[in-house]
């Protein structure tokens, strides 16, 4: 049984956390994540979610509390954005090292300065290497679904790692749209009770988080690399199970009208949906453009990417952040690295768009498609371009 209703992605996520019976919510409100935390505190106060709501004094404390409560075997949830995620930074590394299956929503927002509360992907790109599973939603339904899935995957004993669900601030967090809300029985049938792999227990004491001397640190980090890479199998498996159970399919890399496309554009997050509109408009004009939507960011889905790109000669990548003074677009740089040793590799054209809440209209996608066709014709790869920049 599911109910079709109109709500913000933020409210949908909070309801998902409630359906998943989280034991602990430890979060500090920050725009544009605020509505999640507000709604969860209401659900707890109204007795609909039997959780401890820990009103911490900072995100650093939020993630610290999450590590502690997850370590004693509580199903633990938090949410943040931007500066809040940045303030968590040093604790974020601890959670996967200790195998703590925390679930966190990130309402993606730019980083200061200048001060900006609006949407881009600077926050998550700065936390690329923390060892968490990282996935992106494109609409409120996906934000809800992937939150439920995140608990299932995180707590899978083969994985036992924290999971970050990214969804675009404002564009999704503050937008009401139709959502199919599953009922509790359906969610419970998908999400078994949390059986921690390891927990702090007075009857069977363990010490978590000891010193890693040089003799052991190398091995511990190899374990983290292997664990996150090997999480790929359980990720695909649990996403498939989600599709069978709820009727909505998710894949590490999604495509849109890509099969016969001459040029491809890769997006992450909600703007993939505007991009689909742009693709449809181009298709109406007989131009064979297609879309790749990178859903899974960590572990990076190399094989899915290779399959999706195939023998296509031109691939555009639309980044939502800049790696200053480096390879420009953080996603594009990884895509290029992924193809470096492949015989068959596309020319990669880099774009950055939608920084700090700048609207990305259909015409911006047209600019990108024009550039891709130009590369297809001439073989020349232009310098990375900041789409919409006033020059």
């Amino acid at each position: 049984m599911e109910t079709r209703t109109g709500m913000e992605a933020s409210i949908a996520i909070a309801e998902a956390v409630c359906l998943c019976d989280a034991d602990i919510v430890a979060a500090y409100p920050i725009t544009p994540q605020t509505h999640i935390v507000e709604h969860l505190s209401e659900l707890v106060a109204d007795g609909k979610l039997h959780a401890n709501f820990v009103p911490v004094e900072s995100e650093h404390s939020a993630m610290s509390v999450c590590c502690g409560t997850s370590a004693v075997g509580a199903r633990t949830y938090t949410a943040t954005a931007s500066q809040g995620l940045a303030l968590m930074h040093e604790i974020l590394f601890i959670a996967p090292a200790l195998r703590l299956p925390i679930v966190m929503s990130v309402a993606n927002r730019s980083l200061s300065g200048p001060i900006s509360i609006w949407n881009d992907h600077s926050d998550v790109m700065a936390e690329r290497d923390i060892g968490w599973v990282q996935i992106f939603a494109e609409n409120a339904q996906q934000a809800l679904d992937l939150t439920i899935w995140a608990f299932r995957l995180a707590e899978d004993r083969r994985v036992s790692l924290p999971v970050m669900v990214n969804f675009d601030g404002f564009i999704l967090s503050h937008t009401i749209e139709p959502v199919l809300m599953p009922d509790k029985e359906t969610v419970q049938a998908y999400l078994p009770p949390f059986e921690p792999l390891l927990r702090l227990d007075v009857d069977a004491p363990v010490s978590m988080g000891p010193v890693g001397i040089p003799d052991i640190y190398t091995e511990t980090h190899h374990v983290q690399q292997v664990l996150l890479t090997d999480a790929y199998g359980p990720i695909v498996e649990t996403l498939d199970a989600f599709g069978k159970h709820f009727g909505r399919e998710y894949k590490p890399v999604e495509t849109y009208r890509a099969d016969d496309a001459e040029v491809l554009l890769l997006t992450m997050g909600a703007l993939g949906e505007t991009a689909m509109e742009a693709v449809d408009l181009r298709r109406e004009r007989g131009q064979k453009v297609g879309l790749l939507r990178l859903r899974l960011w960590r572990p990076f889905p190399f094989e899915d990417l290779y399959r999706a790109v195939g023998r296509r000669p031109v691939l555009g990548v639309m980044d939502r952040a800049i790696s200053y003074g480096g390879p420009y677009g953080p996603v594009a740089s990884e895509i290029k690295a992924a193809f470096y040793h492949r015989e068959q590799r596309p020319r990669v054209v880099e774009f950055v768009a939608g920084l700090g809440g700048r609207d990305v209209p259909i015409s911006d996608f047209d600019t990108m498609f024009d550039a891709l066709f130009d590369t297809l014709e001439t073989g020349r790869v232009p310098e990375p371009r900041l789409v919409g920049l006033r020059e």
């Binding site: 200790l98 978590m208 511990t220 190899h222």
Partner: protein, 97 residues
């Protein structure tokens, strides 16, 4: 990490690199840090127990004879017992002597 003589391979690490043997710190004998050790003069010792309380390692204990002494497996030779002793009955002896 399990206590074992050979250094563990990455496949041999405990989950989350946790220490799953309770009280395993006792296997770590800090006594080999010591360059000098405390010696009690039982003629002057009044058995007040100040050294027992102040020992940061918790290794000074009353012995069956009723007088305190240090467990040399763990005594680091810090000398705090000597510093705190109200009667001056403790002296430090160089390990080489």
């Amino acid at each position: 990490m399990r206590r074992q003589s050979a250094k563990p391979k990455w496949t041999e690490l405990a989950v989350g690199s946790a220490i799953d043997v309770p009280g395993s710190a006792r296997y770590y004998k800090t006594g080999d840090w010591r360059s000098s050790r405390p010696v009690w003069n039982s003629e002057h010792c009044i058995r007040c127990g100040v050294c027992v309380i102040f020992c940061p390692e918790g290794c000074v204990l009353f012995q069956p004879d009723g007088y305190p002494n240090a467990d040399l497996d763990y005594c680091k030779g810090c000398g705090i017992c000597l510093h705190e002793c109200p009667t001056g009955c403790i002296r430090m002896v160089e390990e080489e002597d």
